[in-house]
Chain length 347, copies 4
């Protein structure tokens, strides 16, 4: 029987403060809907202050896929395409949402899920005339689908490259909480709000019941954005459910504390595995880690733990993905390491 699930970071409910805030506000008064209520206004004010940037527009959406499709739809003209790491969420795990709104994804092979001027440039060079799509947007995620994060220098270089090549840059922050509180991180929300044209701050994977906050930096992308939200079904009638949660996450530092907890748990897991001489597909940095285990060990572990087998490494070993969350309990980390130690003798 499965004791604990390391499959993802959305297997638990909401942080209790968020539910408490929802309950406190409930039925106190009538409010306007569709993103124009007082709670959303308050959340926008709080987020702007936390970011330290008053020139940004903020909107809320219910899910990450929704945020992605609304944002991409609002940026690209029909013949324009979006560049993504081939491991990017939009490329693999959105059932073709980007193509369903009409756009090609130019998928780039990467070492660690990160885009760089070097791995983007060949795409730009290759697309030279109207017989091909025109790449116009760079989609990155931070942290990436492989758990890696962007350094400030990397994001600056990418930003400069994009500006110089007439490319917009969009950062999918489904796991931004974990990225910004990783030990190696040197980026801030403020930096991001200056370096990319648009991004979203993920609530769902960082303590909210649901909800993502879309932040628009580039003025060209601000106008008429609510039309896109409405047209794609992303404007919630009772939008206060999103506003209240985001106020709670950002009025103090809850958002960062939750991200940090996930990282600390992941780090403890990684250290434990390393101590047992385990290796990794990619160096662990944030709340998704990818240890390489013998297939027999994987079979044994999967009797008690939930996780995804990520990819075959060789005939006898595979990488698995272990994800921790804001709610992961330390006891299960300890238990996993201890079980791992026992099971390793099985090799």
């Amino acid at each position: 029987m499965i004791q604990y699930n390391f499959k993802d970071d959305y297997s638990e409910g909401a942080h209790p403060s968020l539910l408490q805030a929802l309950a406190s506000a409930n039925l106190k008064q009538q409010f306007r809907g569709y993103g124009k209520d007082e709670y959303c206004d308050e959340a926008i004010k709080i987020i702007r202050n936390k970011i330290g940037n008053q020139d940004i527009d903020i909107h809320f959406a219910s899910s990450g896929t929704q945020a992605n499709l609304v944002i991409i739809s609002s940026i690209l003209r029909p013949y324009e395409s979006v560049i993504s790491a081939n491991t990017g969420h939009i490329n693999l795990h959105e059932a073709g949402a980007t193509e369903a709104i009409g756009h090609k994804i130019n998928a780039v092979e990467t070492k660690n899920g990160k885009l760089t001027p070097e791995n983007i440039k060949p795409i730009i060079d290759f697309h030279e005339d109207e017989h091909m799509v025109k790449p116009r947007l760079v989609y990155i995620s931070n942290s990436t689908e492989l758990g890696s994060i962007y350094s400030k220098k990397e994001l600056e270089e990418l930003s400069v490259f994009c500006k110089g090549n007439n490319l917009y840059i969009y950062l999918d922050g489904a796991r931004l909480g974990s990225a910004l509180t990783a030990q190696q991180n040197d980026l801030t929300l403020h930096d991001i709000s200056k370096l990319v044209d648009i991004f979203y701050i993920g609530g769902t994977k960082n303590g909210a019941l649901l909800g993502e906050a879309i932040v628009i930096n580039n003025n060209l992308l601000k106008e008429n954005f609510r039309f896109y939200l409405k047209q794609r079904g992303a404007l919630l009638a009772k939008s206060m459910v999103l506003g209240i949660q985001f106020s709670e996450l950002f009025k103090d530092d809850l958002f960062f504390e939750l991200g940090k907890h996930a990282n600390v748990m992941a780090s403890k897991l990684a250290v434990g595995i390393k101590n047992l001489h385990g290796e990794f597909l990619i160096e662990p940095v944030s709340n998704q880690i990818f240890p390489i285990f013998p297939n027999k060990l994987i079979e044994k572990l999967s009797e008690e733990y939930g996780f995804y087998v990520w990819e075959k490494v060789d005939d006898e070993n595979s990488a698995v993905r272990l994800v921790t969350s804001w709610a992961t309990k330390e006891e299960f980390i300890d238990k996993f390491i201890s079980d791992l130690e026992s099971d390793m003798t099985l090799r």
Copy 2:
């Protein structure tokens, strides 16, 4: 200053039991996401039982526009169109969501927002070859955007007509709670689950924080439905937020009680207006009523009450829309009627 808002039925939070249920379940355990969790399973079981139909598929979506676009996308081939009353939500108030997924709406002029074999037939007859779209789906809402409801006989006739003309029929139940508890109503959820191919039961406008339950009756429409949900961003990661609320609404009769309250309030409002010799654009039946007031009176009322001016009736009078909800307090009905009485002397 606005004392009370009769603008819509989503200006209040959730019924306290639903929030309580969310709080109780929170952090009790880990759960699976994307509609495959135990809470959704439970809600599906409960709804199936309440409907008295085990042959239906049930899925959850976050908003009505989202439900509409996912459902229409799942039914129509690219050259097929959907017939709707010209007052239909998909035709007017979804920012072109239906067209954005590629489909034409054949809008039908109606007296009261309802479709009938008589007003649909000319559309069918008119579309005769491949130079035109092929109407393939009939979209109705119950209650309609004008507050009217379908009788069992009307829905049966429409159902027979659609079957005989190779048309699917889809019922948008954003306000189904109010429709099914209206005094004149003789339809049941069971009837609907037999008479239409697909429908949704609205949570947002009947006591939930958010959420609509999509019910699929026609087997041809069941397969692969989750792909459409995912592709359009409608699969919530923490889908338990929807499952828990719908279980609460349907485990007893809360769903119907909330709908009934809205109707009782609307009815009291209508009777009060009639007593003051007020007339209506359309006979009041459910929780949306459309009294006709002198423009001067409207101006005066709008100082204290929120509502939409629906349409001009003549140079001196207009119809307004007053909407009550599950949370409407009787005192504001009384106050409105009393104010109306005083203001009427202004005429």
Copy 3:
């Protein structure tokens, strides 16, 4: 047996000079394709000179529906809609092509197929926020689907209104040859190139085997237009087949002579019908006329002539559509009138 077909203006091949020009050019040399060949360059030069406007961009497409969908796709953002007479080709006879590329058509009821500031304004006023589409383009056809034409004054007023209301204006010139040579016409190609943002000059219905010339006046619509052509399959590899025909149509005045012939034939037909006391659904102006005949007469006529029954006028009479073309032979006009005279005794 059908002696003659008045169904449309594309039931004959090409004007012999065009075929001759194709034959002369054939195999003389290799040429570049996809609209970048010498023949297209030459045609563009000739058309620019004939229009008397060097600031326009010109592209070629194979069919009217293709031109319409490429143009509309190039102008509108996803949430924007196009206003059209409800009789407009895009609204009725393109199998939902406009919706298939994602855009709603706001259909306007008109008396004669023509749009005016007066019948457009209510559409603009009605669409006020992001819950609705945003009308952004006005689609007109000249001549219209009812055979009526725009006067210079009418087009000027429409143009001023559109500029003042942030609306683009696009003229579908499938039958521009007939429109510009109608007796009542006072518009020129030059006028049109100044008064609308984009239009196309129809070849298919005015002597060409196939082909429409898209003319872009508004600089904002010029950039990247070839991407739209390519993406929708409208760039012909051997584009010289379009260039050569348009050079032939415009190097002298063939385009106008062909249009005029169609009008003269239609006019003779109309006069003949009027002489027999026939009435019309709409006053005949160009090469499509809509006489009202008794149903019995229609039945009799349809044994020898091809035409469409347009609409029921009353229980005993219907309007039919008679179309003449650049190739219509006068003898069949005479024959039709003479047959009509004999058949009328049948009433």
Copy 4:
């Protein structure tokens, strides 16, 4: 100055017999349009007989990109994707036409532009649930974009694999004339009409002014196909222009003779290059060949000949693409080889 252009196989006009046939038919009679004329009927009869299969449906389109987008649109539901070699025309050279109609392309790396059960299977295995698209169609081209062709055995294996994996198979025959007359070819039109669900026979690249004949084998794909043609602007009003040309191509064996000529010219070119010890990126088979030349030689050759530089091979050498056509004159092949011989001394 460019003496001769080996850039493509659409740089010349039409075979004179086709133009002659168009001229002979012109103005002889009125005809029906939009694919329902006598000439299209006749062409369909002729092609059916030539294929030796009476159970196929045949339609005509103007261009290859148009045929591709109409066909793909008619097969796939919104969440379904199409598998293509990464070199496939739909993947690279149609400005995102497939995505613009809503579908993802699963691009497969191949050695020679050909798909096989082996290189398709990982795609099928990888896509396992509704978070991903569902691959449903296999797109192949014959000859491929690299000039390679499918053997009967290869196509049979692919066909069996597709049937076994619930995949449709579509063959883009833009260059089918060359493929079926290649020396190594053992496939017939009849074979293809049995082994794939749908394909098109390219006219534009094999002697026609324009035009592709779409052949539907699978009954499931036949119904309502004309709606797709109309909706995408692919139904020509004067469709006889396509019917007449295809009758001419297939009433005898002109289609095959033209394809063969192109191959013979390409083969002579390839032999000449081999005799000069030239090497190839991929073994020459049909009318597109890809010799590898030193960059300096390429520069010199490009002063007199038109061709595309295909890809860099190493720092000093690149592959170029040389294409011959039904109209290529032998003298230019001789001249090219002779120039090559002289220029090679330049190395």
